[in-house]
Every structure is written in C-alpha cells, then in structure tokens.
Subunit: 222 residues, 2 copies
DNA sequence: TCGCTTTCGTTAGAAGTTGTAACTCACGAC
DNA sequence: GTCGTGAGTTACAACTTCTAACGAAAGCGA
C-alpha cells in the first residue's frame, strides 16, 4: 500500500491523528470483510479499539464519511495495483492481460472491497469529485493497454457512436474507436465474470471461474 | 405478475393474512426503490400501513425473512418475464435476443430488484433451496435459446472444460459445449453491462448504454 | 519551566432501529 | 352462543448513530 498524504511536515498531533484514523479504517476493513458494508458499526469498531463510541466522531463525521473514505481508499488501491502491473510490461504478454490478472487478483484478495467500488450503489449517494479523478486514472491505463493492440477491420456502428470519447474518459486521451470499444468490453465483461463469481453465483456449477475469466480474456485479445 | 399459492381453498383468515403480507411487501418494494435494500425499515413500513412496529412480526419472522421473501419474488418475477418473452418466438428474431431485451427491460424497470438478485451479496447469507430451483429454470430458457444457434467451429479448451455440465445446470439439459459457453457469455457479459449501467458507472461518459448493450448482444449472436 | 489553548476521550442522552413478552380484543369455527 | 385462535396493541430490552457538555491530557509559546 502506498502512503498518501505528506508525512514529512507534521505536528505530533497530526501524526497521532493520522495513525488513529488508519487504525479505525483497518478495523473497518476487517469488520466489513466478514459482515459486509451494511453491517459496519462505529460502536463495534470503537469497542475493538478500547474506546467509547462517540470518540470516533473526532476522526470521521459519521458512518457515511467513513464509508466514503473506505471507497476512496479502495479506488486508490485499485489504481496502485493497475499502476504496479502496467510497469511490468515487456514480458511479451499483452498489457491488457497483465491488467486483467491484476484486476482479478485484486478482486479475489478482498471481495467486499471490490463490491465497494463496483457493487450495488446506495441510491442518493454521490461520489466526491476526486474519486472520479482516480477512476479516470484507471481508464487511462486501460486505454493505453487497448491502444497497443492492432485495430484493424471495419468500424461498427457502436464504434462510430463512441468515436472521440476517449478524451472525455481519460483527460485528452486520443484512442481510435476500436480501442475504446475494446476498453469498454474489457471493463464490462471482466466485471461480469468477477462480480458473479464473487457473489457466489457460480457455486455448484462445476466449472473453474478462473478458466471462464481466462476464456473471456482470450476473446478480448482476439 | 403471476399469482403464486392456491387462492382457491382458503379460510377468511388465511386470505386476510395473504393480503396483508402482500401489502407489506408492496411497501417494502417502494421503500427499497428509493433507499436501497440496506435501508429497509420494518418500523417505517408499519407506520405507513397505520400499524405498530411489532405487528409485522406476525407476518415475517424478521427483517431477514422479509428480504428473503423479496428476493424470492424477484427471482420469480424474472422467471415470469423470461417465460413470457420466450413464448413470443418465431418472429425471425433469435431467442437469445428477445431474452436479452426482456432482461434489460426487467432490470431497468426496477434497478434495486435487479441488484437484489445479482448485486452485492450479504456475507453469510445462504439462499434457500427453492431459489436455486427457480434460478435453474432461467438457465433452462437461456440454454434453450443458445442451443438453437449454430454451433460450428473448433471446440476451445474452456468448452472442453464445461462439456456435459448442462445436465447439472438445468436438470438434465443436454446442450453442446458451444451452447454452454454461449450461455455463460450471455449471462456474464449482459450482467456486466447492466450492473455497471444501473450503478451509474457510465454516467457522464457520453455514450448510450443501450447501444453498448446492443453491441454486446450482437457479439454474442455472431 | 509555567501557563494557555487546543484537542482528545469521556459520560449522558436523544432518537432511531430490531425484536420479545404479555395483554386485549375480535373474528371465525363449532 | 361459547370458546379458541390469532391479530394488534403497549411496554420493554438491547442495539444503533449521533449531539452535547464536561474533564483531562498533551503540545506550543513565552
């Protein structure tokens, strides 16, 4: 995990505050992994840390703000994972494949974290602006990986529909429409497999989800 | 909506009980549509119906049982939609296409209902057996629609991996591996597009999700 | 080193939730 | 008409988030 926020010029109070904030989030993640986001309890976290319930309100304005912070961290973690993966290129394997495997590993490592980013949204919840910024970072890496693949063949009607939208998705990224289409398919198809797998919908069906994921990835690279 | 349960031989008390149970679920759906499943409150439902909170426990053992019942209804509603759609065949359009459009219409009609079936699961929750039975009904119709499409070309390694599993997914359904692969792709790819669309992840990206859905469906039928 | 100020953690409490227990009362069966 | 079953009530326990007011401790400047 990368450390965000300048730990250099900090007063002792700020340092302590950041530490406690991190510890709260650590317990929140543990609690969420076993019971899901909806079962997150500030009181339980406080009890685990040996504090009283209202003490947490010095660090987070409320349950919603804590969850928002966890969502932000999840996005950052995914972006870090993607960044680390895209730096291990040149092994002959296409960039899209290493991104796909990084995504799958990240999702399996903590399913609830994946669902926090891509799962059922809470009606009425609006993500802060900086989250969409990080999401667009991920889009940049996906588009880069798609742009390095051959883009021959005729342009379909949908590709014509999305032509030129790359600059909107990823801050001035000029990718050919075939790459945009491929990035969209990459996102939606792998999410389709991953979310159903993590939700347990493949249980008892008798096949290996990893092989389905690999088969979908193969189709993507064709 | 089809009526489930024999309304023929019922005592007045049973009839009244069923009516109240339906009304509770009706209010639950309304409340869930605006605030999501996690915000479902028995007290609020009771207040809306002019009853006291504990009165609802005559009809449902608790919040979990009510949600389980809603999930069951959602599965049934999807199965009904699929059944109704697959009866409108013979118009030249492939069965998979009408199933896909039925799925999309059903999902857009009530996003929270879709998420109740395919969204983020609650850790530790296990679906009752009869739900998996209904789910397998849907699989039958999907496999039927896939089996009527041409299945030529070489068999991939993943298709070899899932060969013969049709009988397990849909109670003795003997479909060729290519059809099984197509059914899996149908499910995962359309879910990928739908869930991201309903979650609002395409907002502000400047394209029409319906066209992406149609493009994915086109790929499926190729 | 002393004092001031900021901030942390506490307890008390309001308002909400799920869920149980015990008590009426009315409906329906006989 | 009587009588049992079941519906709905209030009261209550235990939990939640979150606010308010207080005490104590820690850092910062002089």
């Amino acid at each position: 995990m990368a450390d965000h926020g300048d730990t250099g010029t900090q007063t002792p109070r700020e340092r302590y505050r950041a530490q406690v904030q991190e510890e709260i989030k650590k317990h929140a993640w543990e609690q969420m992994a076993v019971a899901g986001a909806s079962a997150l309890s500030l009181n339980a976290i406080a009890k685990q840390m040996g504090m009283s319930g209202p003490a947490l309100y010095r660090y987070f304005a409320g349950r919603d703000e804590l969850i928002t912070e966890l969502i932000r961290d999840a996005y950052r973690s995914l972006a870090d994972t993607f960044r680390a993966a895209s730096e291990t290129v040149g092994t002959g394997e296409p960039g899209l494949a290493v991104l796909a495997h990084a995504l799958r590993g990240w999702a399996l490592a903590d399913p609830q974290r994946y669902f926090l980013v891509y799962g059922t949204p809470v009606p009425g919840y609006h993500a802060p602006d900086d989250i969409t910024v990080i999401a667009s970072e991920n889009m940049v890496m996906m588009l880069d990986a798609c742009a390095e693949l051959p883009s021959d063949g005729p342009v379909t009607s949908f590709e014509a529909h999305i032509e030129g939208l790359g600059s909107r998705w990823a801050d001035g990224h000029a990718a050919p429409p075939v790459a945009l289409r491929r990035a969209l398919a990459f996102w939606t198809r792998l999410h389709g497999v991953l979310s159903l797998e993590l939700a347990g919908h493949f249980n008892g069906m008798g096949f290996d989800p990893a092989l389905l994921f690999a088969a979908e990835l193969d189709d993507l690279l064709r």
